[in-house]
């Protein structure tokens, strides 16, 4: 089906887009210039994300401007100004000092989306600890694994999350020195328990003054775990210099203006919710909406209307759920303040782009990036026509290409050491020229995996794409077995390993099953050990077993019994064949399968 391009009026609205002409901006943009738009720490002490996001506004005319407008589950509203956010984050940084935490040590945050989370996140950055946000819907096992891999020194959480998810695993984490419980005093579990502390009491005693120490732009600031095809999750390292990208992309790709009310619906446990839910809007000094509640069509329309959201950054799954809720749900709300809508997480199907145009009266701007890139890389812009279904064109300052892959899925590198680029319209691997500020600097303790992401001086994204004659990029599919559900990456191996722990399971293969709402849902195919019978009780037992350990966000939605899982000659389960079977496709030439 052919979709008509959505044209942007040549006379731009009010306010004018920050970027008026894509080609002109691309020709003149430099990262050095983008860096100069930021202040840097006073006295030439370096560059710190939290200073750019909070302190410089708190020290200037925007000190009384609302930084965060937090809505709790019941719709109760709390506002935090830049001056107040500077103080609460200062207090948190002082608490870390008091506890003897050192710069570079990891502070994990496992919380609902409340103002406490943002103070802890920004306080950790001020303190120059490394912030590692976790998704509150993770089960105990993903939490334990990430704390262990990241050598977590401090965990900030709430009494409820602690009870449900941390209490049972804490003894397996000897490096974890302090657990700080926010929002309600909780006495330590036992008299000998010196590690569980009441955060509110500590904050109340801490000073609201804090001077950020010298911060090298290359100092580690953030650790984001992401899933691979095999093995444990990888901790992608980001540095303070990433703030240059967060600022530039907020200006160019999200078109943030000083009076905007911005709502990023992603949880900070995922990279979008940190880069664009915490850092980017604050660096721009705008008001950011923080909604603690989960998706609900009416509630979301209420938030857009009542909070006067002007720029909205959300995800395809949410947009598809809104679409399903019907046009009437949208019509009863006044969304006239809304000016710019962007989406990320998985490709946005053209139907949704057109739905936005018809229902919201606004085109939806899809963009593409990933945990490793730290910020938006390819995007549709306010000033540029949209081709529905395309992820757009590379950000000014970013060089992107489509590289040819051989039969094994490896990028083809010529004799001169350069990778071979695909022709216009030809499919290949989406790649980026390294060197932008928010690029990851490595995977924690895993140099080999980091190096395998590069070939011929390109960063290889693992996604397959093609480019049209005008330089628009189009997503084709993932180049590996990683599952993308509701915009979140899930490693099949993580799910398989957990199911393998169940006594009934002999073998298991996990795939992403296409789903109209979520893009993909996790489906597990289980081979039972002798003596176990495939029945509904056992299926539910396995489902509950994996949900309890992995949490709803990671665990399979579907489990099927299969005593004949397909294997390679070397005995590996062929997830691609499982997927082909699921889709009712022919499994294809068995010789290529044996090699995959």
């Amino acid at each position: 089906m052919h979709w008509e391009a959505i044209h942007k009026p040549s006379e731009h609205g009010d306010p004018m887009p920050n970027m008026g002409d894509y080609a002109a901006e691309r020709a003149t943009f430099t990262w050095e210039e983008a860096r100069r738009a930021l202040d840097g720490l006073p006295g030439g002490r370096g560059l710190n994300i939290a200073h750019e996001a909070v302190d410089r506004h708190a020290a200037g005319p925007r000190r009384g401007h609302v930084a965060l407008r937090c809505l709790d589950r019941h719709g109760e509203r709390t506002e935090v100004t830049y001056a107040e956010l500077a103080e609460t984050s200062n207090r948190f940084a002082n608490v870390l000092d008091t506890l003897g935490v050192e710069a570079g040590e990891r502070v994990f945050v496992l919380m609902q989306r409340t103002a406490d989370l943002y103070a802890a996140a920004l306080g950790s950055l001020k303190h120059r600890s490394v912030l590692c946000p976790l998704f509150a819907a993770f089960g105990p096992e993903p939490i334990r694994q990430r704390l262990e891999l990241g050598s977590g020194r401090v965990l900030v959480t709430t009494p409820t999350l602690y009870r449900h998810k941390v209490a049972a695993i804490r003894d397996q984490l000897p490096l974890l020195r302090h657990i700080l419980l926010a929002g309600g005093s909780t006495a330590p579990e036992t008299a000998e328990d010196v590690r569980t502390l009441d955060l509110d009491a500590l904050l109340a005693r801490a000073s609201s003054q804090y001077e950020i120490g010298r911060t090298d732009p290359e100092d580690m600031a953030l650790l984001h775990f992401t899933s691979g095809t095999t093995g444990t999750p990888k901790g992608a390292i980001h540095v303070h210099e990433a703030v240059v990208s967060h600022h530039a992309t907020g200006r160019i790709a999200l078109d943030l203006h000083p009076d905007d009310v911005f709502w990023c619906t992603a949880d900070p446990g995922w990279v979008t919710g940190t880069s664009y839910g915490i850092v980017s809007p604050l660096v721009h000094g705008v008001t950011s909406i923080i909604d603690e509640g989960d998706f609900d069509a009416d509630r979301w329309y209420d938030v857009l209307e009542n909070e006067g959201v002007t720029v909205w950054y959300t995800a395809p799954t949410a947009l598809r759920m809104l679409m399903q809720a019907g046009a009437d749900a949208a019509k009863t709300h006044d969304l006239s303040r809304l000016r710019f809508v962007a989406s990320v997480g998985e490709p946005l199907n053209p139907e949704v782009v057109v739905w936005g145009q018809e229902t919201l009266g606004l085109a939806i701007h899809d963009n593409w990036w990933q945990t490793e890139t730290g910020g938006i890389m390819v995007a549709n812009y306010a000033c540029m026509d949209i081709r529905p279904g395309s992820m757009g064109r590379p950000l000014p300052g970013i060089e992107a290409a489509v590289l040819i892959r051989d039969d094994h899925g490896d990028v083809v590198v010529g004799g001169d050491g350069a990778a071979v680029e695909a022709a216009v319209g030809q499919q290949g691997e989406l790649a980026l020229r390294p060197g932008w500020p928010s690029m990851f600097r490595g995977y924690l303790d895993d140099t080999e995996r980091y190096q395998s992401c590069f070939a011929g001086n390109w960063y290889l994204s693992g996604d397959l794409a093609r480019r049209d004659e005008d330089g628009y990029f189009w997503f084709v599919g993932r180049g590996n077995d990683v599952i993308k559900s509701a915009g979140h990456l899930i490693g099949p191996f993580e799910v398989e390993s957990t199911l393998m722990e169940h006594p009934a399971v002999a073998e298991v293969g996990v795939i992403g099953k296409p789903d109209p709402l979520c893009g993909e849902v996790v489906k597990a195919f289980v081979t039972l050990r002798a003596g176990y019978e495939a029945n509904e009780d056992l299926r539910l037992d396995l489902l509950g077993f994996s949900r309890k350990r992995l949490g709803a966000a990671v665990a399979p939605r579907e489990i099927a019994f299969d005593q004949h899982l397909p294997h390679t000659e070397s005995g590996k389960i062929m997830r691609r064949v499982l997927k082909a079977r699921e889709l009712g496709l022919s499994a294809g030439d068995t010789s290529t399968l044996a090699a995959s």
């Binding site: 589950r73 819907a137 989960d294 609900d296 759920m321 019907g326 749900a329 539910l540 489902l543």
Partner: protein, 80 residues
């Protein structure tokens, strides 16, 4: 449908969506999603499960009324 029948139905539909949870862990007034660690997709499947078990049309705008056990019971019993 009586209150007891409604509770029994909620229990059995929840068991299909999230077999690991125990309805008895939910304190009165607490939302199911919060108390039982369900995500949006679980909740959607729960609502669809109620529809399939009862034949009741449950439009999305009614979902907030299903957020607590008491809300679900009232919704199911008053629907006949």
């Amino acid at each position: 449908m009586t209150n007891d029948e409604a509770r029994q139905l909620i229990r059995s539909v929840l068991h299909q969506v999230a077999p690991e949870v125990d309805l008895d862990d939910v304190v009165a007034g607490e939302t199911l999603q919060e108390a039982l660690d369900l995500d949006s997709m679980d909740f959607l499947n729960f609502a669809v499960g109620l529809h399939e078990a009862t034949g009741l049309e449950i439009p999305e705008r009614d979902y907030p009324r299903l957020s607590t056990v008491e809300g679900c019971v009232t919704y199911l019993t008053s629907a006949g």
